[in-house]
């Protein structure tokens, strides 16, 4: 997909792309997207049909009358052949109908819409932390390659790749909440404040700040800082490592020698020239890191009782609410696809060589 956008495939000349070429590229892109989305739905559809649980029984209960059973079965379209069911599934999902949650009875999409902002807030803050700390760390590691700053940062990164997120969360709670009392405990906000917040974006930090409710803001911050830091650590590990790798590659390039020959100070050589060339691939790294955080969020939210999409999926899982689980999986899959696409697009937009 990236090659299509960057125009480095066969038959692409290095001139400004004509409208026809651009629209052809866009067409290919959309086609690929649609296929991938279709495939995603196919996988979730298969999973949904593989379960040993009878979906009808899950809704009506095992003491229902046979007529009720039959009616629900017809409603769900389970009497039709599988291909028809799949088509219906695709049509429904594409229009936003993810089915009804077995547990709550609500449309799954509505439930997800309630839970999603919490994950969004957590992942965004974690990514911001990861970038703010990870990029300078990676640069430092590359500039001082082989010496102690490099070793320290590599070890920190390595630990981030090796430590289980749920365990780190628990240890974090134990140390910073139970023993040191520096942060608030599990949950998103204290009950005291929960109903006094005017919800506009669903992002607690933003909502409380916008309405000037500073007590609630502080409380929300105290609750989010630990899970965000823990997820942020993973983001940092990945970003620092990639930054280091990119920087090492750039620092070996000839234009860096040119910059030094010009008499530029080493600071400018590193932070303006080398880092400038790293920015573009780094944007895609950040987008991907955001995507990976969606994964980590599942376990983090479980540990911190954070009411986000991850917790929604795991709770639905424990309650055998397959519709909800699959709905959540589709949403995460779509986000993943979207972020990958965004990273490819950003690359094409920002790299002057593709303009």
């Amino acid at each position: 997909m990236a090659e299509v956008l960057r125009g480095t495939g066969p038959g692409t000349a290095r001139k400004a792309p004509s409208l026809a070429r651009l629209s052809r590229r866009a067409g290919v892109l959309l086609g690929t997207l649609a296929l991938t989305f279709l495939g995603l739905l196919f996988v979730t559809f298969v999973i949904g049909r593989v379960i040993p649980i009878d979906p009808v029984l899950a809704i009506v209960g095992d003491r229902a009358l046979p007529e009720v059973y039959e009616r629900v079965k017809l409603e769900l379209g389970l009497d039709k052949p599988l291909t028809t069911q799949f088509v219906r599934y695709v049509a429904e999902t594409a229009t936003g109908n993810f089915g009804k949650s077995v547990l709550t009875g609500n449309p799954v999409l509505d439930d997800i819409r309630q839970f999603f902002p919490a994950t969004l807030e957590l992942a965004t803050l974690a990514t911001l932390l990861g970038v703010a700390l990870g990029v300078p760390a990676g640069v430092l590691a590359a500039v001082h390659k082989g010496r102690w700053p490099d070793h320290v940062i590599r070890v920190v990164s390595l630990i981030g790749y090796s430590v289980p997120v749920f365990w780190l969360g628990l240890v974090g709670l134990l140390v910073f909440y139970a023993r040191l009392d520096w942060v608030a405990g599990p949950g998103r906000i204290d009950i005291v404040y929960e109903y006094s917040i005017e919800q506009s974006t669903g992002l607690m930090l933003v909502d409380t700040a916008l309405s000037g409710n500073w007590d609630a803001f502080r409380d929300a911050f105290a609750h989010i800082i630990l899970p965000a830091s823990i997820l942020g650590y993973y983001s940092l590990a990945y970003i620092a490592r990639m930054t280091r790798s990119f920087m090492l590659e750039q620092l070996a390039q000839e234009y860096v020698t040119t910059a030094r020959v010009k008499g530029l100070g080493e600071g400018r050589v590193v932070w303006r020239h080398a880092l400038g060339n790293v920015m573009v691939p780094l944007i895609t790294v950040v987008a991907l890191s955001y995507a990976y955080l969606l994964e980590g969020a599942v376990l983090t939210e479980t540990v911190f009782a954070w009411p986000g999409l991850g917790l929604y999926i795991t709770n639905s899982l424990f309650n055998a609410d397959m519709t909800a689980v699959l709905g959540g999986t589709v949403v995460v899959g779509v986000c993943f696809i979207g972020l990958n696409l965004l990273s490819d697009l950003l690359y094409a937009v920002f790299d002057p060589r593709t303009r």
């Binding site: 949904g48 365990w167 628990l170 899982l317 424990f318 999986t329 995460v332 990958n340």
Partner: protein, 297 residues
């Protein structure tokens, strides 16, 4: 001639000598790197502990003794006891077997599967390639844990299902690697020569192309092992892996959550085990990559 001189000779007399010589140099480079060496030692320790678990004198991982529940680490119970009075050290040791089983089985499924799909796609090209690559892309479009979750939730909890679920989510990158390597050699002269001799596609794939791709896949598998351990532990934490009373490390951490504040060791010890083993594989994988693929530095 000493063994070392024979290995390092500039003009090896046989292919075996050349291969052994290269392996020796790689092994030396690997061991010279202290971090990689540490990783190797950790992995070796895991294998040894797992293999010798029944013989190690650490007590019975399943023996419950409620009068001994939740004891802190002591001389008698190095890691303390859990909520059912079981010795945690022995459970961690026993859990090493489970971890190793999962890692090995996933590797054995994922490597060949990815290799097969990748080489077939790369060799035949055309619509076979397009279809297989679309399938690969679809599986790559999911974050691994979520997909594994969905699969396990559908199939039911248990260690076998966990292994299957993880394998299903993990094979795409290997197919990609194998495909890329296949495509670079597909048009080379020696393949053309074998085709002219009348070899069937199956023979070419199996005998000539796959062996070339094997080493990249092996490197990647080692690097991914840490991730496999973490995903498996995550599934265990959610109760989707090996079921109690099996001493799966993730499940043990989850069980220890309730006692986290006062009896921290119940959750911390198995978590440490996960961390150290994962770290070991990461260090080893990094070291292997530095040695075998120096561009990556």
């Amino acid at each position: 001639m000493s063994a070392r001189a024979w290995l390092l000779s500039d003009a090896p007399a046989s292919r075996l000598q050349a291969r052994l010589g290269r392996a020796y140099l790689s092994a030396r480079a690997l061991v010279a790197n202290p971090l990689a060496l540490a990783g190797l030692l950790i992995v070796v320790a895991l294998v040894v502990v797992a293999a010798l678990a029944p013989m190690l004198e650490v007590g019975d991982p399943f023996a419950q003794d409620l009068s001994q529940r939740l004891l802190p680490p002591s001389a008698e119970h190095w890691f303390g006891t859990d909520q059912l009075g079981r010795d945690i050290l022995s459970r961690v040791v026993q859990g090493a077997r489970l971890t190793l089983t999962i890692v090995v089985l996933v590797a054995v499924i994922v490597g060949p599967l990815g290799l097969l799909i990748g080489t077939v796609a790369g060799y035949f090209g055309g619509w076979i390639d397009a279809v297989l690559m679309r399938v690969t892309d679809i599986f790559l479009a999911f974050p691994r844990l979520i997909l594994a979750l969905a699969f396990v939730s559908a199939l039911g909890p248990g260690i076998e299902n966990a292994i299957i679920a993880i394998s299903i989510t993990l094979w795409p990158p290997y197919a990609r690697i194998a495909r890329a390597e296949t495509m670079t050699v597909r048009n080379s002269d020696f393949i053309a020569a074998i085709q002219l001799q009348g070899a069937s596609s199956a023979r070419i794939l199996w005998g000539h192309i796959m062996p070339l791709c094997v080493s990249s896949v092996i490197i990647r598998v080692t690097l991914d092992m840490a991730g496999v351990i973490l995903i498996a532990a995550g599934l265990g934490f959610l109760g989707l892996g090996a079921q109690p009373p099996a001493p799966e490390w993730g499940a043990m951490v989850s069980a220890g959550r309730d006692f986290l504040l006062d009896q921290w060791w119940v959750a911390t010890m198995p978590g440490l085990a996960i961390f150290i083993v994962s770290l070991g594989f990461n260090l080893l994988g990094d070291g292997l990559r530095d040695v075998l693929d120096p561009k990556h530095a």
